[in-house]
Symmetry: C2
Subunit: 213 residues, 2 copies
C-alpha cells in the first residue's frame, strides 16, 4: 500500500489548498502537518531543511520531499494517474493545453489576485496599511486577464478543453477569496462564462471538503 503523504502547511492557506484539492480529487491519502505561519514557523530551521525558501506547502512521502504547489500537483497527478479524477488530459495535446493554462494561472492571474487578497484580507488583519494604488492596478490587471478567460470559456467548458484539469483546480484558492472574502465577486459574476465555470468548479465535492479542513 502507498505511504500516506504528509502535507506541511496550514490548511487555510491558498497554496496548500491547491495541493489538498488535488489529493482529494485523486483519492490520495494524506496527513496535514500544521505549520503556523503567523508564529513564523516557516522560518524554523527544521522547516527550512525541508523548504529552503521558507514557504508552504511541502509534501513528504517516505523519503521523497517536494515543494512548490504546482510542481506537487503535477507530480502526484502523474504518479496516481490511474486513480480518481484525471487532471492531466488524455492526449499529449490535451496535456500541452493543461500546461498552457496552468502557466497562465501562475504568470498572469496569480500576481494580481495575490496582491488583492494580501491587501484586502491579510493586511487589515495584521494592521499593515493597504496600498490603494496597487489594489486599483491589480484589479484592472485581473479584469483584463478574466476578459481573456471569458472569451476562452465561451468556447470550451473548462480552460484546457471540455474536461476539468489542474488548470482549473489551480484557480480555486484565490477565486474563493475573491468571491467570498474580499468583496470582489463581481469580477467573476459580471462575466457570464467565467461565472458558469466558477459555479461548476467551486461546487465540486473535493473543493467543498478542502474548505472544511
Amino acid at each position: 500500500m502507498a505511504e500516506v503523504v504528509k502535507v506541511y502547511g496550514p490548511a487555510y492557506a491558498s497554496c496548500p489548498r491547491r495541493v489538498l484539492a488535488c489529493f482529494i480529487e485523486k483519492g490520495i491519502e494524506f496527513e496535514i502537518v500544521h505549520v503556523d505561519l503567523l508564529k513564523g514557523e516557516q522560518r524554523n530551521p527544521e522547516f527550512l531543511k525541508l523548504q529552503p525558501f521558507g514557504v508552504a506547502p511541502v509534501t513528504q512521502q517516505g523519503d521523497y520531499t517536494l515543494y512548490e504547489s504546482r510542481a506537487i500537483i503535477r507530480y502526484y497527478s502523474e504518479k496516481y494517474k490511474s486513480q480518481g479524477t484525471d487532471l492531466l488530459g488524455k492526449t499529449l495535446e490535451e496535456k500541452g493545453l493543461v500546461e498552457q493554462w496552468l502557466e497562465v494561472e501562475a504568470q498572469n492571474y496569480n500576481a494580481p489576485a495575490y496582491d488583492l487578497v494580501l491587501n484586502l484580507l491579510f493586511y487589515p488583519k495584521l494592521g499593515i496599511p493597504v496600498n490603494s494604488d496597487l489594489v486599483k492596478e491589480s484589479e484592472e490587471k485581473l479584469g483584463k486577464v478574466l476578459d481573456v478567460y471569458e472569451e476562452r470559456l465561451s468556447k470550451s467548458k473548462y480552460l484546457a478543453g471540455d474536461f476539468f484539469s489542474l488548470a482549473d483546480l489551480s484557480h480555486l484558492p484565490f477565486n474563493h477569496y475573491l468571491v467570498n472574502a474580499i468583496g470582489k465577486a463581481y469580477l467573476i459574476e459580471d462575466r457570464k462564462h467565467v461565472k458558469a465555470w466558477w459555479d461548476d468548479i467551486s461546487s465540486r465535492p473535493a473543493w467543498k471538503k478542502v474548505l472544511e479542513l
Copy 2:
C-alpha cells in the same frame, strides 16, 4: 516527417529564447516568425488570435498552437523525448524535482531578475525612468534566491540532480542578461557553485547557437 514548428517572437527576447534553447537541445526543426515588439506587433489582431494576452512566444505545429514558454518546453520535451538531450528526468521522482526547480525559477527567480533587466536594460533604451528602489529591492530578493541555489548546487551538479534539465535551461535567458548586459555578473560569480553551474550551462552548444540567432 514531423512538421517544422513555427516560433512567433523576436529571437532576442528572453521567453522565446527559452523555447529556442529547448528546440536546439532536442534537435527539433523550427522556423522563427519575427514579431516586432518595439513596433507593438504583439497587439495586432492577427497575433492576438494566436496569443490573447499579447505576449511572445507562441508556437504552431500544423494546427496545434501553444503559448507560455514553460508550457511549450514541457510539451515539446515530452513529445520528442526520444531525441536530443533528455530534459525531463528519467524517473517520476527526477521529473518531480525538475518540476519543483522549474517552479522555483518561475515563482522565485523570475520576478526579481525580470525587474532588474527591465529597469537596467530596457527602460534606459526606451527613455523610461529607472525605479531605483525596485532595483535595490529586486537585487536583494534575487541574492537570497541565489543563496538557496548556492546551497543546492553544492550538493548536486544541476538544480534537479546530476543531470541538465528544463529547470537549468529555463534560467539561461535572464542569467545571460545579468552577467552580460546589466553589470550584475557578481550576483553569479560571487557564489562559487552558482558560478560553476553558470559556466557549465552557458557553454552548452545549444545556448551558444541561440545567442547567434
